[in-house]
Symmetry: C2
Subunit: 432 residues, 2 copies
């Protein structure tokens, strides 16, 4: 096509004061321009590269197309580095998370025009929200399934994360359930190993679960990690359900968006537990990458029922501000904009809330600060903080349930420990 009325690159994207409507997809970024590039210029380059433009003017884009499809940089603040861009929804394939991410979280991070760029949040158009399934169970469904309505659920990870054979795995799980855990899960790097076959592990551990349910009178859950190439992952997920499993665990990020969406869309009769292994490779730097908030929102859209969001007080780096912002986002129906925590508004319409899983370096002494920060609608998940108990796994699970009971009764853990020796031993080993 020859040159006629061509659009000048990097111009025409500024629209200060524009008010996004319900059909826009809005992104909030933190941006530092490269040396020699103005803030306004860099904002427009991001808007261009994430939508319809490239680095030079081209003869194949008429003005009419630009007017119809170009995103609008409607808010930008050089001092804070915050820029907000509204994209017409036509730029996206609504049910295709990978395509959305290839657009607004794709080439833009590598452009030499910026030194740092972080995608902080995405506010999805109402149409998109309605298009996705969202969680099948959600908080209410999980609580109903587990018959635990008022307290945080107590979970553990079988530890060591790798090394146990199928029988020992089932035995550790059984002990954790007998001690009081509601939930036992595989760890993120346990799939089907030479020393621990997936199918056999699932069979034996689900048998142990049924035994523990019978003996304790409590509902128990086992979350096998199905992470694998898609076809094998789908087979493993079906195998879990066929063996009576009600939960499926998946490493959402290393599996990736395409596999995750199709896995959810199998519509299996099971709740999905999402582990976020690998997220901090791009969420941790406050100036560059993608926020955990965005990852969590995509998981809720797709339909993960419960997702790791951080432990606040544990072995991971994230603080209270960051984790509670994510926790509120995934558990609320309507989320209001929060300037301080860089969270946009969102109306989740009919999509169910997703349960927050707090994990990573937790133990009984951390229950109180965790519940104070995150509320009761959480899974408190401890691996080392249970199996590392001086008296072993059963005592470790007891100690954790006792810590949760104390918090529900409004009693300090150290006081409750006077009449609960497992809790006392835990508090002696792990101070805070």
């Amino acid at each position: 096509m020859a040159d006629s009325g061509r659009v000048k690159e990097y111009e025409g994207y500024l629209a200060k004061g524009y008010e996004p409507d319900k059909d826009d997809l809005v992104c909030e970024y933190y941006l530092e321009p490269a040396k020699g590039i103005t803030f306004e210029g860099a904002c427009q380059r991001i808007a261009s590269e994430s939508s319809i433009g490239t680095w030079t003017d081209i003869g194949t884009m008429p003005q009419e197309m630009f007017d119809r499809l170009s995103p609008k940089v409607f808010s930008l603040d050089k001092k804070s580095g915050i820029v907000k861009i509204a994209y017409p929804k036509e730029l996206f394939e609504e049910g295709n998370v990978a395509q959305i991410m290839s657009s607004v979280a794709g080439n833009v991070f590598g452009m030499s025009d910026v030194t740092n760029l972080k995608l902080l949040d995405i506010d999805f158009p109402a149409d998109f929200i309605r298009h996705y399934h969202g969680p099948h169970y959600g908080i209410e469904g999980i609580r109903k399934l587990m018959k635990v309505y008022h307290r945080p659920l107590v979970g553990t990870i079988v530890k060591p994360k790798l090394g146990l054979d199928e029988e020992k795995h089932a035995k550790v799980a059984y002990e954790a359930w007998m001690g009081g855990c509601d939930i036992v899960k595989d760890d993120e790097n346990l799939s089907s190993m030479g020393f621990n076959n997936f199918d056999k592990r699932v069979k034996l551990t689900l048998n142990a679960k049924r035994k523990a349910e019978k003996e304790t009178g409590e509902k128990k859950a086992y979350l096998p990690n199905v992470t694998a190439p898609y076809n094998e992952m789908a087979r493993r997920a079906r195998h879990v359900v066929a063996n009576g499993g009600e939960f499926i665990m998946v490493d959402v990020l290393t599996v990736g968006w395409s596999g995750l969406q199709s896995l959810r869309d199998l519509n299996l009769k099971a709740a999905f537990h999402g582990h976020r292994a690998g997220h901090a490779a791009f969420t941790r730097n406050p100036k560059h990458g993608i926020s955990m908030l965005v990852i969590a929102k995509l998981c809720r859209l797709i339909g993960i029922d419960q997702l790791h969001v951080g432990g606040i007080v544990g072995k991971m780096y994230e603080g209270k501000e960051e984790v509670t912002a994510v926790g509120e986002e995934i558990e609320s129906k309507v989320v209001s904009e929060d300037f301080a925590r860089h969270r946009l508004q969102e109306n989740w319409h009919s999509l169910k809330p997703m349960l927050a899983v707090c994990s990573g370096g937790l133990h009984p002494a951390k229950v109180q600060p965790l519940v104070h920060a995150m509320g009761r609608d959480i899974i408190i998940q401890a691996g080392g903080g249970i199996h590392g108990h001086p008296q072993g796994t059963i005592a470790g699970a007891r100690a954790m349930r006792q810590a949760v009971d104390a918090e529900m009764l409004g009693v300090e853990a150290k006081d409750y420990a006077k009449s609960h020796f497992e809790l006392a031993a835990a508090l002696k080993k792990w101070k805070k």
Copy 2:
């Protein structure tokens, strides 16, 4: 399980002088410990968290298991921050990329014990290499398919990346082929849109390809972007092949490892083109995240035939050192360790080499420096640098082929331009 002979956490992983054998998976990391943590301590915490350990000692791990499965920190240098860890291959499910990444590129990035951590390279055990398919076509297969044996292939992306309908898309592609492009591809954010349906686009553009082949006598290729949820992606890929397409394009990172592996394993009669949209969210920071080298190696393992590796001289941030290290890795049979560029050794055994795609802000004036850096076994891919030509797409494609011809003849582009007016016009618009 009760306490007996428990392994003390974060100790026992140091093995200075250990020589990894062919059954080890070796990782090289850059590491900065958090305040108050020693370098040796942080190295061991990374080794622990990425394998069998957790943050506290646990009663469920006997010494025998630790001795058998614990990784070895065999090289560490506090000054440079470089640490190398050898993992027994039993820690991994050999054909499961997501599991491997959940281990060595999982929780470790988020640990509060480190301030920064970057996975620089993975040297895979010989067994793993043999277990994967690798590229179906590879460099030789692609050259044979395209009947272009000695020069770089010339590719373009239909631009604007979003906005054209199916007919206009096919028309721009046709003009690019007629002008001299070997390859025309969709862009990373074009999938199936309201204004441009995937199936219809593929049909019309493949028709245009056949027309261009007939009229030019040259072999041409169209690379439709199948990026979508897995099941739909597989359907689209099959649709391409059913309509006579010989190439399939996919956004490797936003699709994710599980979907990518199963897509490759469909064993379609088509070559895979990998776009790396989103990589710089975690590859760009030299101190934290995952290197592009690791991503490229995983793509070669899985079986991508040609992969974006950067343009060196274009609109993206990466420099020559980084891009050539990746280029050599994916195109060689045996790779030797390179301390300066943080590349481990690798023997690719029977896995075919993967063709390097150079893209991002390229135009005719950049052909010479690019070929000097990367050699002839590349695809030189230009979007704006072709469609942005003052005389339009056909002239833009001609100018790019002329620039490649000049370089192959050993003639300076500015001299060749004296008798080639399209090249002259391009060099006038884009200086360097």
